[in-house]
């Protein structure tokens, strides 16, 4: 991941392409056939130490324990809520995993259908059974603001190198932004600013393949929202 921006040319590979035939180990999204490492998804070839893998360009979100995600309540049971976290599997949120004391059958008083929640993935077992929790600092029900859905493979672009993109977005648009690992992004701010932030996020998603994205997004926001010069100078 770290080396990704350092490389000048990024080679796009498709499933079945030979990544390496000289004895490197298969990294992520790669497999070995007859001593040759081959790609198993469409993406960008990525060499890291002595492994060669692929950074996917598309694909659905697969939860990993520890991920912070934004989900929508889609079903209510007597002792749990079903949350849609944009994964191929349902994610139950058990009453023991919320910060309130909930009586059996009283779940709908706390979270209703369509409510948006900030969660953490507690565990994912090998049969891909997911558990999520709301018992951690900062995890809560989200109210107000706007929700934007982007492809989860573009999340790292939204965040940027050591958070450069996201901190720029937050500072320049003066919005509160929370990015879920599943590609759900919550943006809260004043009407005009939030609108610009939403468009900036969509721009990052559309142009994720391009270089110099941070500068481009900065230009875009400046053209839409005149900035106070002195305040944001240290951003570079």
């Amino acid at each position: 991941m770290e080396k990704r921006n350092a490389r000048p040319t990024r080679e796009i590979v498709v499933p079945g392409d030979v990544l390496d035939g000289t004895g490197m180990k298969p990294g992520e999204n790669a497999y070995v056939l007859d001593g040759k490492v081959r790609a198993s998804v469409m993406g960008v070839r990525n060499v890291f130490q002595n492994t060669v893998g692929v950074i996917p360009l598309r694909g659905c979100y697969m939860p990993v324990s520890g991920d912070t995600v934004i989900g929508v309540i889609v079903d209510i049971g007597p002792s749990n809520w079903m949350v849609d976290i944009c994964a191929p599997y349902p994610a139950p949120l058990h009453v023991n995993e919320v910060p309130w004391k909930v009586e059996f059958g009283d779940t709908s008083r706390y979270l209703g259908m369509g409510n948006v929640v900030l969660l953490k993935v507690l565990s994912v077992d090998e049969s891909k059974k997911i558990n999520v929790t709301m018992k951690d600092s900062g995890l809560r029900r989200i109210e107000g603001g706007r929700l934007v859905k982007i492809s989860h493979s573009k999340v790292s672009r939204i965040i940027g190198k050591s958070g450069s993109m996201i901190s720029m977005l937050k500072n320049m648009t003066d919005c509160r932004i929370t990015v879920g690992q599943n590609g759900m992004i919550w943006i809260d701010g004043e009407d005009e600013n939030a609108e610009v932030a939403v468009q900036a996020v969509k721009m990052v998603e559309a142009q994720a393949q391009a270089g110099n994205l941070t500068d481009r997004v900065r230009e875009f926001i400046e053209s839409r929202l005149p900035q106070d010069e002195d305040e944001y100078d240290e951003e570079d």
Binding site: I12, V14, G16, G59, C60, S127
Partner: protein, 249 residues
């Protein structure tokens, strides 16, 4: 296959009615990512065949009884539009389209890394917009590009093409007339990295020698189709990059 005609399908110079030689396939055009609302999609033209494929998933498998706790299943739906053939095709699934859906999903299941997504389902929809013989091959070719476009992990992309026999000649990629009035039709799909066969059917009669020749020709052509498939997927992203660098100037 069963029809009779006075038409000369292959003339004395070995030229076919559409001007191809025995070993030429029809012109192929592949485009990836043509639909916005599907997770992955592809559009394929092989001669007069026009095929659209869309992929959703992996997603929760419905109906639940089809779930496999050890791996994902590939559900395929091959559908011919009513206007795809010259006589209106009665819409809805029939015996033929159920069979084609089954063989295509089995061919794709061989390459998709289904064990990564237990209990899930990967749904493939193939719509035949215009048919001119060889739609199952065009459909499978489109479906595998759409799967790769959806970012689904797979061992390889599957190309497919038919070979056959008409007027006593072994021919590659039969067109409508050759299929209707010929003696045999052999669609084949392979995994290019290993040359494994994932789909093979035969309708009609051929000698063993003719069959071997047909397979050899079709496998060679599959590799050509494979290059076009890869090119279509890569082109999709170089286009995005060009558009972005274009508005810089």
């Amino acid at each position: 296959m069963s029809g009779h005609t006075d038409m000369v399908l292959v003339d004395e110079k070995g030229m076919r009615i559409d001007g191809r030689t025995a070993e030429q396939h029809r012109p192929i055009k592949i485009e990836a990512g043509v639909l916005n609302n599907a997770d992955g999609s592809a559009y394929v033209e092989i001669g007069k065949n026009k095929v659209l494929a869309a992929v959703y998933g992996p997603r929760e498998c419905h109906p639940r009884h089809l779930q496999d706790p050890t791996k994902a299943i590939v559900q395929c739906k091959y559908n011919m539009q009513a206007f795809s053939v010259s006589d209106r095709k009665r819409p809805g699934p029939d015996r033929r389209s159920i069979e084609i859906s089954k063989i295509i999903s089995e061919a794709l299941e061989k390459v998709v890394l289904t064990e990564l997504y237990p209990r899930a389902s990967i749904d493939v929809y193939i719509e035949i917009l215009q048919a001119n013989a060889g739609t199952r091959c065009a459909g499978l070719t489109a479906a595998s590009v759409a799967l790769a476009d959806a970012g689904i992990p797979m061992r390889d992309i599957v190309p497919a093409i038919a070979a056959g026999k008409a007027d006593g000649h072994v021919l590659l990629d039969l067109n409508k007339e050759e299929d209707n009035f010929g003696q045999a039709d052999v669609p084949i799909a392979i995994v290019p990295s290993t040359d494994e066969i994932v789909l093979l059917q035969m309708d009609g009669n051929m000698t063993r020698e003719e069959f071997d020749h047909a397979i050899e020709m079709a496998v060679g052509a599959c590799h050509e189709v494979y290059d076009l498939q890869k090119d279509a997927l890569k082109r999709r992203y170089s286009k995005v990059q060009k558009e972005v660098s274009g508005d810089e100037q």
